[in-house]
Symmetry: C2
């Protein structure tokens, strides 16, 4: 029997209606090149309406894709709303992409317009004849403000695209996914749940996760949905910028990758600064090191551990455990998401807390395909019990109650003497060693064993030159956690560890670096 | 551009998957006629699977409607899941319906089976030849347990019906609405938001709102979605039962109409009992009297004020304000809901904190029609800007930020000398008078003025015979809140105030009572 409930589109239109009508006085603070901009949701809504009229004049409609190469700023936020409100798709482009990658995604997505931040020099090298490039600056502001506010937005079906994002492809071209109004709405609503992030109108929220990638975990949408004060940290935010913003604006919840908080914590210690307003740091993209969790805790800040990827729009698990061991797990999936683990042949593996397998996932904000890429799509999905599951490429263990523990990326596992070694496990162990700031472990080819683990280590300033390979290996041995053959053959000390354009350890570059260093 | 996100049904299947797989050890406690039953989600899931096999054997499938006339018990909860999991519609029937109403809705909905609680004597008088009646007792339990657990549930489209409910029609036949899997999922997810109810796995939740009406605000679904311990208070729960359950089970959040909490508070005071575990009472169906809010606060319990109706599935606003004046408002609508106010011609009225108008509403869990009743549907909806809005029949004022204040039901407003008097305002004012336990105000026909207000008052035991009409009127005057002509012409003292089958003041019966009393 059909229900009698009306068809109501779960869309960004409802989020905008709430921001404009229910929370006109809530604030948005944006760090930009010129300084700090502060305005109310009311003023923001007016700007969105003017920008929409400007975009409409430029020919943007429900068939358009509009690109952005921009930092977390109020101008970017306005585009986050205007484009989807008009029924178009906002294509966020990674600021750290190589010009050739920018060129590829702009042409592949068919961007009609591309808005770029003033410091994105790479744009000059991009050839995209069909796209008009617009610089986000004062002149742009004046142009927008000269337009009357658009007073009517078209109704958009909830399954239409709203935001498009490409993976930071380590092999081949980046792959695209298009999030829908519906998926953004449901995921944003989920972020308000107490056991997810629990964003409320009383919060002051700072997404350090970039708006140019996986829509900053939908945090901007979730914040405006519930009237929270939103603090956008702008271009290339360093630990000094973040600390100032948190203190000046009273940030209560901040969201970003572990490396952001590692650097911030280091800065706070050096400068002897505390952050009394900050209650929660939500981190994802990699397991938060225990030293980081403890360091934040000493400042009165709780760490939430989240997990997700480009193909799952944003996050699908959050672990809020107070227990530091338990917090190393990614945790249980959010409502609207389902998971299984499978072996390489696609057979289900039990949730026994021991068996490794690839995590497969389906749900209300999981992609069902790659944009215009049937071949890539074919390799990344499997069918179980008549349903489609996305293959995450993450090797995990599930405990009997479904709490996920990521062992490693399938392609980063190290196969030594026919047995698997988890690079993630070793990295996390090395990072619990007091002198270590950051660490990465990769497998290098070995004639006898197939592959052997090698560690790259960044020491804290005060320990540089004072700690050697043997100290690290002795520390690992003293943990009594790993079999002897897991211990790295080499420990290479470096000044920093290369990251991908989305802030993750770039293991491809790492392997090359190591090859060079070991030969030398 | 279509999004690439997969089609994933938001359904009770996902809630069940979570309960069974992610929270096997969470508890359900159920007060039944035989005593208290306690089991885990794991055991619950097994029972649901056995019950589903039993239902399947009885011919229940995706075309079936299955009725229940039952209290808040574990058996009812199992039916809440089994029937929708099979794709059928669970038709919850009001235990307090007159046999003729039961008969009407059972036949009108076409119930294949009707499960009823042992104490529902009215069932014997119901004639419904096409329905098979099954008593929820030990024998039923044995029958269910003799069936093997069903291991596969069909995929159900999210817009299919899951739960059906009829209004307690004060004029004419009850009107039916059918909630969808989707609406139940989204509304349940909303209940986890910090600023809605904020249910979490750490909570112990007791829905006193009946499962036989508007699916107990979806609280059973929301609780199982997040692994909360669920306490079901069973048949005809009195204040003594509620107090015992809260103390014994450590209830942290309880949900019910104001009258439930008025009686509980009265009982707690008389018996000198406190409820240390209880943090929050969520109340709806009527404005919570200030005395109630204060009384609960003295016990360390916060009051959340919610608003909704059968046609909006459950609740659409929650006000958590700490300010007692502000808390009398219904508050802002939840994400996924939109409201306007209109005059009798359907023109929009401004949100100025002064202008009265009828609240119209649309959203993800608002009905778009009445079940099989085109005529009733026609009168209850209007179209504004090309969109359908449900006419709530509530006269409200909206402040400039969209916070709703219900003035009265349109049909309960009193028109005196061409001006409107709010019966709700007067009731709430009288209920702030210390000697008053409950009060109701209705309009009675008056030759000179058209209508005049008359109050019915229940005094606290200790004040009976000691407080008279003049005391009440003097108190109202001393408030300096109402013009003289608003004051009731009569104050009639009664032992109790008649309620509808859903626990609201029954103003139809009240008017008849008053007519009798005033003639006498």
């Amino acid at each position: 029997m059909k229900s009698t409930i009306m068809d109501y589109n779960l869309s960004i239109h409802n989020v905008f209606w709430r921001a404009e009508k229910l929370y006109p006085d809530s604030q948005i603070v944006s760090r930009v090149h010129e300084g700090k901009v502060r305005y109310t949701y009311s003023k923001f809504s007016e700007r969105v309406r003017r920008l929409s009229e400007y975009l409409r004049e430029q020919g943007v409609d429900s068939s358009s894709v509009v690109g952005t190469i921009a930092w977390n700023t109020h101008r970017h936020l306005e585009l986050y709303f205007s484009v989807p409100l008009l029924g178009g798709v906002l294509h966020t482009i990674n600021v750290r992409f190589h010009p050739s990658e920018m060129e590829y995604v702009i042409n592949f997505a068919g961007d009609k317009l591309v808005f770029y931040d003033v410091d994105v020099e790479e744009v000059k090298k991009v050839r995209a004849e069909k796209s008009k490039f617009v610089r986000l600056d004062d002149e742009f502001d004046r142009e927008v403000n000269s337009h009357p506010p658009l007073d009517y937005f078209p109704e958009v079906d909830e399954r239409e695209g709203a935001v498009m994002c490409f993976t930071s492809g380590t092999t081949g071209h980046p792959k695209g996914v298009v999030y829908s109004h519906r998926s953004i709405f449901i995921h944003s609503l989920s972020l308000l749940a107490k056991e997810i992030v629990g964003i409320s109108s009383q919060d002051i929220v700072m997404p350090v996760v970039p708006m140019f990638h996986i829509s900053a975990w939908d945090v901007p949408f979730a914040s405006l949905m519930t009237g929270a004060k939103l603090v956008l940290p702008g271009p290339r935010p360093g630990p000094d910028h973040l600390a100032s913003l948190i203190r000046e604006e009273g940030v209560t919840v901040a969201i970003g990758a572990p490396t952001v908080w590692i650097n911030l914590l280091d800065y706070l210690r050096r400068e002897k600064i505390d952050l009394p307003s900050l209650k929660v740091v939500v981190t994802g993209g990699a397991e938060p090191p225990k030293g980081l969790i403890k360091g934040l805790r000493e400042l009165g800040i709780r760490t939430y551990h989240a997990w997700g990827m480009t193909e799952t729009e944003a996050i699908t698990t959050v672990n809020q455990s107070e227990n530091i061991e338990e917090l190393s797990r990614q945790g249980k999936v959010m409502p609207g998401i389902e998971v299984k683990i499978v072996d390489p042949s696609g057979n289900e593996i039990p949730w026994d807390g021991k068996s490794w397998g690839e995590l497969v996932i389906r749900g209300a904000w999981v992609t069902g395909e790659y944009f215009n890429s049937p071949e890539k799509t074919r390799d990344s999905f499997l069918t179980l019990e008549g349903k489609r599951w996305f293959r995450t490429g993450d090797v995990v263990v599930l405990d009997p109650k479904g709490s996920i523990k990521v062992v490693d990326r399938a392609k980063d596992l190290i196969k030594s003497g026919g047995e698997w070694i988890s690079s993630v496990d070793l990295e996390n162990a090395i990072m619990t060693y007091e002198p270590v700031l950051e660490a990465a472990v990769v497998g290098v080819p070995d004639l006898k064993w197939g592959e052997r683990p090698v560690a790259l280590v960044v020491l804290r300033q005060e320990y540089r030159g004072k700690v050697g390979k043997e100290d690290v290996l002795k520390y690992l041995e003293s943990m009594n956690r790993f079999p002897k053959w897991w211990l790295p053959d080499e420990v290479i000390f470096v000044d920093s560890i290369p990251k991908t354009s989305t802030g993750k350890l770039d293991k491809k570059v790492l392997r090359t670096t190591i090859k060079g260093r070991m030969r030398a």
